[in-house]
């Protein structure tokens, strides 16, 4: 059994959705407050020694200098705080910095998290801000959108393996069914396959219901060294693997378009670090920014062979109650995708699942969970593996 890199003692997440009148600092405080309340032995002003906050874009709120803003709003101005940016994997990257900080023994306890406030500006403006994660001279300049980039991968997968729009649609149906059971999800509503397939076209073959949501939200986790965790919790969750890999920023320069090589490489590193196999994963939260992204994640994470993702969803393997439940939270699709918050929101869900606190969407007996957080069209992938520590 692999030694833990660090241990999570508490997590928090704001409600995701259209949070009118609330800004990033206030949403982050909501998430942090939940993590603090769940951890009464922790004195934030005394114990927390550093903050790492993921946020993708300062275009949303016309606000940079996010580390200082969050430390200020939490009343923690005496400790270092900074923002990490890796597009939609910004808080997955923040978590990695937190792990390094406690593993190096520089700090005993750190707060990591992420936030994005997106719904107060018009959809075209939000889409434009998100598009900045794509290569500017080769991709944005030539008229592509993020749905467009993932649609290029979807068409490649359909051409090569015979994957169908129905199979992609089933991923949306599953994630909405799960999200309807998550009180903090943005769109707590089940959808039928017919609704998904008949929703308006965004970037063929991807339709509105193949796309994740533009949401407001924040999430966080409090980390310490494994041997200190007992001071703060009786149900520690160990981080047994953390990996981050990259690929070309420009999608067209990749050798293959039906897989995210960065995710595949990070997954291999993570499984090796945790000394486990894909079949040992009891529950996973994967980056379903588009339905095709979840299908490709099944293959990249080794849940099935390349090209078999469509069969996996049809056979119900990734449903709650299946062999490898994926996105019990509802995923980015139904829970919502405040981009900077997504990485640590995945962590929050896995912690709930491993502690048996996930309510109506609980995966029975889950002891090991995986998170798969992707930046852009796959130029960044961050993977973590968590395990119950009691």
């Amino acid at each position: 059994m692999a030694e833990p890199l660090a241990t999570i003692v508490s997590t928090g997440m704001s409600r995701f959705g259209k949070r009118e009148g609330l800004y990033a600092r206030e949403l982050f405080r909501e998430a942090a407050e939940e993590a603090f309340e769940a951890c009464p032995n922790l004195d934030p002003r005394k114990d927390i020694k550093a903050l790492f906050i993921g946020q993708m874009s300062d275009l949303f709120e016309h606000q940079s200098h996010v580390g200082a803003m969050i430390s200020d709003w939490l009343g923690l101005n005496g400790v270092p705080a900074l923002r990490t940016e890796a597009a939609c994997a910004s808080s997955g990257a923040a978590l990695r910095l937190g792990i390094m900080a406690v593993k190096s023994r520089l700090y005993d306890v750190v707060l990591v998290g992420g936030v994005e406030k997106m719904t107060h500006i018009s959809t075209p403006k939000a889409v434009e801000a998100l598009a900045t994660a794509a290569d500017y001279p080769m991709e944005q300049w030539n008229g592509v959108t993020f749905p467009g980039l993932y649609a290029l991968m979807a068409t490649a997968h359909m051409s090569r393996y015979g994957t169908t729009e129905e199979q992609l649609g089933r991923i949306a149906v599953k994630n909405h069914r799960n999200g309807a059971r998550n009180p903090k999800a943005h769109l707590k509503r089940e959808v039928t396959l017919e609704e998904v397939l008949n929703s308006r076209m965004i970037a063929w073959p991807l339709k509105l219901y193949d796309c994740s949501l533009i949401s407001d939200g924040a999430s966080c986790a409090i980390l310490t060294r494994p041997e200190l965790a007992g001071k703060y919790t009786d149900t520690p969750i160990h981080i047994v693997a953390s990996a981050q890999c990259h690929d070309t920023l420009n999608l067209a320069d990749r050798e293959e378009l039906t897989t995210l090589k960065a995710a595949r490489k990070a997954a291999l590193q993570a499984y090796e670090m945790a000394d486990m196999k894909p079949r040992d994963v009891d529950v996973a939260e994967v980056h379903d920014c588009f339905t095709i992204a979840e299908l490709i994640a099944y293959e990249d994470l080794g849940f099935c062979k390349p090209g078999r993702g469509g069969e996996l969803i049809e056979e119900g393997v990734t449903e709650i109650g299946g062999d490898i439940p994926v996105n019990p939270s509802g995923g980015l699709k139904s829970k919502g995708h405040p981009v900077g918050a997504t990485g640590t929101a995945q962590i929050h869900e896995i912690v709930l699942q491993l502690r048996g606190e996930a309510g109506q969407r609980q995966v029975q007996g889950a002891e090991t969970g995986l998170t798969h957080n992707v930046g852009g069209s796959g130029a960044t992938a961050v993977i973590h593996i968590l395990r119950r520590g009691d």
Partner: protein, 137 residues
């Protein structure tokens, strides 16, 4: 950066002259559509411009219905990744093609849009597109 090394500015300057140049790694022979100075596959710094005839085949495609700013008037439009004859791939709008004609391997050739006046703001890059080789009206 050494004289003559592939760069973004030079890539687009050459496009202004209606000339497409790809980047080749002289070590591992990988070809790239995007100009670069270190090969992401082998790490070599020995990269060179390779002139392209601008002929290629469609690798994958999408039809954009919700466009980014500046492209709204064109929807729906086809975008594809094109593999050039010389190797290397490039993302581009595909003009003058009926959606039902789209398929992997469709033969395409490059063309260039008329430059647009933008008041001297950065960037002053031209835009290219691809169109079917045999079906140009």
């Amino acid at each position: 950066m050494e004289e003559g090394a592939p760069s973004i500015e030079e890539f687009y300057r050459r496009c202004s002259d209606k000339a497409l140049y790809l980047t080749r790694c002289n070590e591992c022979r990988s070809m790239y559509g995007a100009p670069r100075t270190i090969c992401p596959r082998c790490g070599s710094k020995n990269l060179a411009w390779i002139p392209s005839k601008g002929l290629g085949e469609l690798v994958t495609w999408t039809i954009i219905h919700v466009a980014p700013p500046g492209f709204e008037g064109m929807t729906p439009y086809v975008m594809g990744i094109v593999e050039l004859e010389e190797g290397g791939r490039i993302l581009s709008i595909i003009e003058h093609v009926e959606p039902e004609k789209l398929r992997v391997g469709l033969k395409l050739k490059i063309n260039y849009y008329e430059p647009r006046e933008n008041g001297g703001e950065w960037p002053q890059w031209p835009r290219y597109y691809f169109e079917p080789l045999e079906e140009k009206q």
